[in-house]
Symmetry: C2
Subunit: 545 residues, 2 copies
């Protein structure tokens, strides 16, 4: 039996486009003599469709998509992900299903049992879990077909679920496993995914064909890396990461082979590629081609600009230098240098006149009061107005340049530097932004060295340094990581050797700044816990705050 | 047996404050000779605690709170809601529980079985459903204790769950039912809640004591209205709406009584009271006392200001009139009139000089290009900068004045009039804003009549009217309602008699403006489907767009 794995980039709700894309791959697979072609989870509608699943009209569209695909199933089996209607009145209205189409008919359907409902996942919001499991027979082979999370409940110290669907399917003597997934990227996740598929193959002594989606869906970046694993746990093949690929495998050849495939998985290389895909798909899928951003001479905007230039082409990234009375000469020089290094068009638009206009206008209200953070924010907001005006006039999307450390502690101005349609590096701590800058420069200076080595500053008052109001970033980032990613409380973090007063101050800053993060753009997710849809906290409360 | 129902307003994560508040009510209930006092769902930590539930430290705090309460349970039983740790390794780590404390001990614990995971609810994100159900005995009575949703799966055409916990508990011959809830307000929900409790009482032929929380938690406004219902379905008592109340009932007296209590539930009166509670708690729980907002002379800012003045006191609401070259004289006059009617301090700050500063600054970039929406947005953003500067300098929270119709179709400027810490009327369609204005004026003119009767305009270009670019609001709002609240697709909406081209245009506008709503402040929820945490849609997609 020859099985084609089709790792594709879908657009949510674009039924015509997604189905058309699948049909070209089906025809190619037929030409390759494939017996079966396998697409990823919810591939007809794109994953995650979120509350569109609550619209009957949307579900009808998925069914029409299935009908179209079925017409192309003569001479080939097609496995495709789509929601299906739960015929039982009790429970949620839908299942998250994998359909098997052949000779114009639906010959089998598997429903997902383990519904991830944590972090960025909301599947029990929409789907009823499956309670029965059946192997299906196709061309003399018995196939155990599961969906994503269904194979993740093994060898787990803290299992989220009470059942393990493959344990039940294994009793029905399958010859092979197929799993269709929509498993998003985070640094380290590709290796975990391989470990899980390998564990399954070994536990059930079956070859495993695993298809993941690829492509960014706003915050979530699906990285592909589909797998073929032998019953002994040997990885026969890893498909490409961060790009579409379709490849056909002969089951007997897979079983007979001995080679082991290992692709490199260096963290900053993966993050770099993920962010580029994230930018490219955000723009491409929205039908935009041009970005704009403010370039301060600092590391955050430099890294954001460099990534955008690689994603969209430097000629499509307009950078704007907006110096104020507090901007240092070297900042402007560094920003210009970066724009010139990469060939990005740039404007220099000093904000002084607009800032003065607000200062003068508000003189009666502010009379007798000292300058404070108000004036700092006003500068950032003048820059926001300028960038949004250019964005509106020329049809750019504004890129946000905030990093995770500053978002965490609220070191940023709402409607100022926190503006933008997409946050590119908002899931990277400041120390990781430096790592990524060095990665970008690995084959030559793109980001000026002086941008990397000078002490970080917002340059909103004379001689300001980030370290005036924040601890050094290596300490700050470690405390933030323990709180945000590891969900430790103050006791545990202090027990790791951090200063008690500092820990309490930082955790309080994180919690009281939830109101700011609530209004920030979507953040490209590259860690296991990003700000945004996967981290849901009250704005109003009194916990560690 | 005498049972005290304690309908209280909790602050999320404020364990000390919540427990102290409960202890004062326990002592009072003891003085009233109560045998049992009942608090609402997750009352120790406040509902919804959201991802704080993932922190072990947070869970330890709830357990310490329970220990403190238990010390006050001598001579009285206490029913209190708190998370509890699931002792089984498989499944989620927590249950959503109701503890019964007596004589210093936990004498019973019920776990919630039906976990709402739809709209604003995410309970399966945190909790394992209960699978076993036990009546407990207290002072000679057998009590069936359930939590919120557990009693909602009856007489339901489309049940979300496969089980009905009370059916199982009823087999254990209980003498009464107690349900502890955290059921948020929306217009019409109080009556649904009464219907459900009445249905339960009649189905099981038991008296039902139902305790709801009260108070706003950011978007969600818990309205109280706790209930005592007799086995025949007669409503013995409804506690107050939108305020705390503790009241003790004698079980025998309840069973013997015949009177029926019916409180009025007029929609705009409820919405008015809900929004005032929503504003008051947002400010009070964050420790703020003063609001600021822009007053345009239009209906949206007028209604927002009037509500804020009632919630915080007019002296604490600073309104700012920011006329431009396009503002009509009557707008400024109407805005001043409102401020004077209510006694709110006001500033008049014309934006012309700041707008000119940006126009001049951007002359080189904009040379030769016609004016367009860029200049309109720039005016709105100048106002945003001014309001945020005052807010920063004086410590006000900026109130957002957008309505649901304009948020839906993207008729607003990001970082301009879409700024603010809280959206007050963002869940009211424009036609409902007019209804609410008339309600506010029911005992005399607060909002100037001319504000109510003139045609709506953003006044961002000469003689602009909303109806230049949008259909009349009665048509727009009906289409929006069918799409947003009823989740109908274009076919169904057109079948209701609406123009096909218009329907497609409106639905497209709603979908392509998801990126704007993603960055707006939390919206006080008063409908069954508000923008925000209860409506989760992709920013990037191609469905009806």
């Amino acid at each position: 039996m020859r099985i084609a794995l089709a790792q594709l980039n879908y657009l949510i709700g674009d039924f015509d486009g997604n189905v058309a894309k699948m049909i070209t791959r089906i025809e190619k697979a037929k030409a390759d003599q494939a017996d079966l072609i396998v697409f990823g989870e919810l591939s007809i509608c794109g994953y995650p469709p979120r509350d569109f699943l609550e619209f009957d009209d949307f579900i009808r569209n998925t069914q029409e998509g299935l009908d179209k695909l079925a017409k192309h199933s003569h001479g080939i089996g097609i496995i495709v992900g789509a929601p299906s209607v739960n015929p039982v009145v009790e429970g949620k209205d839908l299942f998250n299903s994998a359909f098997v189409l052949h000779e114009g008919e639906i010959i089998h359907k598997s429903n997902k049992a383990l519904l991830p409902t944590y972090d960025v996942f909301d599947e029990y919001r929409y789907f009823e879990p499956a309670f029965d499991f059946h192997v299906f027979e196709y061309k003399g082979k018995r196939i155990a077909l599961t969906i994503c999370e269904d194979i993740w409940n093994i060898h787990n110290e803290n299992p989220l679920y009470r059942t393990c669907p493959m344990d039940i399917l294994a009793e029905q003597n399958p010859d092979l496993m197929i799993n269709i997934s929509a498993s998003p990227f985070n640094a380290g996740h590709a290796q975990q995914r391989i470990d899980v598929v390998v564990e399954n193959a070994k536990r059930y002594q079956l070859p495993c064909f695993y298809v993941n989606n690829v492509g960014a869906q706003t915050e979530l970046i699906f990285d592909g890396g589909s797998l073929v694993v032998r019953p002994d746990g040997g990885v026969h093949h890893e498909l490409a990461y961060f790009e579409e690929e379709v490849q056909t495998f002969d089951l007997d050849e897979v079983l007979d082979a001995k080679e082991q495939m290992v692709r490199p998985k260096e963290k900053m290389s993966q993050v770099h590629d993920a962010l580029i895909l994230g930018i490219r798909d955000y723009f491409g899928k929205l039908g935009f081609g041009k970005a704009i951003l403010g370039l301060s001479g600092g590391i955050d905007s430099a890294v954001t600009a460099a990534l955008a230039a690689r994603a969209l082409g430097p000629e499509n990234v307009r950078v704007v230098l907006m110096p104020s009375r507090f901007s240092s000469d070297h900042s402007v020089a560094d920003a210009k240098q970066l724009a010139e290094n990469m060939g990005m068009p740039y404007d220099i638009i000093p904000i002084e006149s607009t800032f003065n206009a607000f200062e003068n206008l508000l003189t009666p209200q502010f009379a007798g009061l000292p300058e404070d953070v108000t004036e700092e924010n006003m500068q950032a907001r003048c820059r926001g107005v300028i960038l949004m005006a250019l964005s509106n006039k020329f049809g750019h999307i504004l890129l946000n340049t905030s990093n995770k450390s500053e978002s965490a502690v609220g070191y940023g101005t709402l409607y100022g530097d926190m503006c933008g349609g997409l946050s590119v590096i908002g899931d990277l701590y400041k120390t990781e932004v430096f790592d990524l800058a060095r990665f970008i420069n690995r084959e030559g200076e793109v980001i000026p060295i002086s941008t990397i080595i000078k002490p970080p500053s917002a340059e909103l008052r004379p001689d300001q340094k980030d370290s005036d109001s924040l601890p050094e970033y290596d300490i700050l980032d470690e405390i933030l990581y323990l709180y945000i990613e590891e969900e430790m409380g103050p006791r545990e973090i202090i027990a790791k050797g951090h200063d008690e007063a500092l820990v309490k101050r930082i955790l309080r800053l994180v919690n009281i700044n939830e109101f700011k993060r609530f209004q920030t753009p979507p953040v490209l997710r590259v860690s296991k816990k990003a700000f945004g849809m996967g981290r849901r906290l009250p704005i109003v409360g009194r916990y560690l705050s």
